[in-house]
């Protein structure tokens, strides 16, 4: 038995490694926990063993599917668990069904391709960053879509240097405040004790302020393809500065890339993003994507006065009533909905497309975003409260 439990421990270690390969973050601490847990629960049925490991290794609901697949594949391939359980139980475990489940592909790839995934060599781009003043000015106004590779590199550099001033909202949390409105009895009492309780010098508390979360919904469909990479760079810069930023990409479906964008290095972050997304440069289904966002994410990320940046050209493949419904719901669940539309670069832009006309009445602000200047303008707008510069009604009136 001692030798058997030794092999079980070894298997758990290998299994943890497999989970890591499949994308579930499992630290060495969790492995020790797993050993302790299996010890505590005892090796009973396959099911108990499964849930014991599940309790320790899975820390997010999304990982459940990956865990299930990894467990099935790992212990099927090695066949060890079945042997062990079979030797301890009168009955053998039932046969498993063979239909592929969601996540199977990912786990299978991770387990079977081994860890020999070669990293793609990064293209060497030599950038001459020593631009003259006038060059810089030109760069500021140049449409992202018309930039050469070198100019894009320079623009990325400029984005990195954008100073993100902080818009702040009051939170419910209190902090010591010179001109606060509440008396901080704890500090007051301590201060008065210093003087033996003779003098009572009032100390105050005021609300602590914090920058509200930003939620960005970025359209990555074909019509936006010239812009998406730079926007991602922009969002990466914002994520780095603001901490509470959630980024979602959508084309035909919605993908959350918040975690990927948390990487410090922008190229690394973008590479992680591309690895996560399956529908680059496809069509757009704005209504479907917004529906998914409203249903699955809105209640989780739109808290504490969040600002939503919706970055899309609004060219919906099949506009219908659902779009109006979903954008209305989105609008009602956030503090400020800012629509960034690169199409606004054309001075003669008119909100004619049906999708655009449907969405405009439901946004708080409609702004262009096609060059560095407009990006800087957005940053400015984010730090002002109630700025009316991009009033969407103006665009509707133009057509009417």
């Amino acid at each position: 038995m001692a030798e058997q439990s030794g092999r079980l421990a070894e298997n758990i270690v290998y299994f943890a490694r497999a989970l890591r390969a499949a994308g579930i973050p499992v630290g060495p601490g969790a492995v020790l926990d797993a050993l302790a847990a299996v010890d505590a629960a005892g090796v009973g049925t396959r099911d108990d063993f499964y849930w014991t490991l599940h309790a320790v290794f899975v820390k997010r609901h999304e990982h459940s599917v990956l865990f299930e697949q990894a467990f099935r594949i790992f212990f099927r391939r090695r066949g060890y668990l079945d042997q062990l359980l079979a030797s301890m139980l009168p009955q053998t475990p039932g046969k498993e069904e063979e239909t592929p489940k969601p996540g199977a592909q990912r786990v299978q790839e991770a387990l079977l391709s081994g860890l020999a995934e070669t990293e793609r060599p990064k293209p060497d781009v030599e950038v001459d960053a020593r631009l003259t003043v006038s060059d810089r000015e030109v760069l500021q106004r140049k449409d992202f879509a018309q930039m050469s590779a070198a100019e894009i590199a320079a623009a990325k550099d400029a984005i990195k240097r954008l100073v993100l001033s902080l818009d702040e909202v009051k939170t419910r949390r209190l902090a010591p405040h010179r001109h606060g409105h509440l008396i901080d009895i704890r500090r007051t009492l301590r201060a008065s004790l210093k003087a033996g309780g003779a003098v009572i010098d009032l100390k105050y508390l005021g609300p602590r302020t914090k920058s509200p979360p930003i939620v960005a919904l970025l359209d990555i469909s074909g019509s936006m393809s010239q812009y998406t990479r730079l926007f991602l760079h922009f969002l990466h810069a914002v994520t780095d500065a603001r901490k509470r930023v959630h980024t979602f990409l959508f084309g035909t479906r919605l993908t959350n890339v918040t975690r990927a964008l948390k990487a410090k290095d922008p190229d690394e972050a973008l590479a992680a993003c591309s690895a996560n997304v399956a529908d680059w440069s496809g069509g757009t289904r704005i209504a479907t994507s917004l529906h998914a966002f409203n249903k699955l994410w809105a209640r989780r990320v739109l808290t504490q006065g969040a600002i939503v940046l919706l970055i899309t050209d609004g060219l919906e493949r099949d506009p219908d009533d659902r779009l109006a419904f979903e954008i209305d719901r989105l609008h009602r669940s956030c503090r400020r909905l800012i629509w960034l539309n690169p199409l606004l670069r054309f001075s003669g832009f008119e909100a004619k497309a049906k999708g655009i006309r449907t969405m405009v009445p439901h946004v708080d602000e409609l702004r262009p975003i096609h060059n560095l200047e407009s990006m800087a303008g957005l940053v400015q707008a984010l730090s002002e409260r109630g700025a009316r510069a991009g009033d969407p009604k103006a665009w509707l009136e133009k057509v009417a």
Binding site: D33, A36, A41, D48, W51, A55, R60, T171, R173, L193
Partner: protein
């Protein structure tokens, strides 16, 4: 103090855990019992996530009543701070004590300070209460809806859960002789930081299947008829498969079953369903979608399904 049964020892196996929960009419599935058993055995906090109304909070209550332990509940909200969660000084009493000392002509500042900041003037809040020894055994500490508190509180909690100790600067460190049984729940309105989850055993509490939900309804709504309970459960199960903004939880099923029993219904009919839909669905858009023809359609499906099963 509530009347509680005699303290019981912790369950010794997964089956014993299941039985323990069943004595309080909590019908858990085996996966939940496994996690709970491990949490009790290994002395780790249990982190429960899931949709609203699936019985996350109930687990802590059931644990406390079946094990005969005290239940200490900390309801989280935005802005929850140390003064509300851990301890606070009774300032009014302190002020009086200072005045009295002054009137008596006491001028020893050091003694005055140690007098004023003694345990007599300490108001203990849930986290500090949970660390105190209890003759009935370590209490059950329920930290409810952690996702409503802000990140700053989460970081503080991390410290408390790591070594079950709290430091009151004026008094020193209070350490639990026996760590409390900690149950943390979250509705996932935001993501809880990984560092906190890492210290806990995690479990996603899902909706029960029809068979288990039926048992739950019959256990919790005693007066309900066989036909009605079956129809209610299957209707709710069918509703969960629809594309709802907020699918009904077990709590809603129980409310609905109780409401229908109160209305003396013996079986579901489209009119009753439409009239009482507000018990089940809480968003106007969802209600508008289901009301009327859709409800009838679902109901017909449920009836056909139940007839086929007979």
């Amino acid at each position: 103090m509530k009347q509680t049964p005699a303290p019981r020892s912790l369950p010794a196996s997964i089956d014993a855990t299941l039985d323990l929960l069943a004595t309080a009419d909590y019908l858990a599935d085996r996966s939940l019992a496994t996690v709970l058993f491990l949490a009790l055995k290994m002395g780790r906090p249990l982190f429960l996530e899931g949709e609203a109304g699936v019985g996350k909070t109930e687990i802590a209550k059931v644990l406390s009543s079946t094990l005969g332990r005290r239940l200490i509940r900390l309801q989280c909200y935005e802005g929850l701070d140390v003064a509300a969660a851990v301890y606070e000084w009774n300032y009014a009493a302190q002020m009086i004590a200072i005045r009295v000392a002054e009137a008596e002509g006491a001028h020893d500042r050091g003694r005055l300070e140690s007098d004023v900041f003694s345990e007599r003037f300490l108001i203990k809040r849930p986290l500090l209460q949970a660390l105190e020894p209890d003759p009935a055994g370590a209490p059950v500490l329920l930290i409810d809806e952690l996702d409503r508190a802000d990140e700053a509180f989460e970081a503080f909690l991390l410290e408390v859960l790591a070594d079950f100790a709290v430091t009151v600067p004026e008094l020193g460190t209070v350490k639990a002789a026996q760590p409390p049984i900690v149950v943390i729940t979250s509705n996932r309105t935001r993501e809880i930081h990984d560092a906190l989850k890492r210290r806990c055993l995690y479990h996603w509490v899902g909706y029960p299947n029809a068979e288990r939900e039926l048992k739950i309804v019959r256990a919790k709504v005693p007066g309900i008829g066989k036909a009605l309970s079956e129809q209610v459960v299957h209707f709710v199960q069918a509703l969960r498969k629809e594309d709802m903004f907020k699918a009904p939880g077990v709590a809603e099923t129980l409310d609905w079953a109780a409401a229908l029993t109160e209305l003396d219904a013996v079986a579901l009919d489209p009119a009753t369903v439409s009239d009482t839909l507000g018990v089940l669905l809480k968003y106007q858009d969802d209600i508008a979608r289901i009301e009327g023809s859709k409800a009838k359609e679902l109901l017909d499906d449920v009836r056909a399904q139940l007839r086929a099963a007979e």
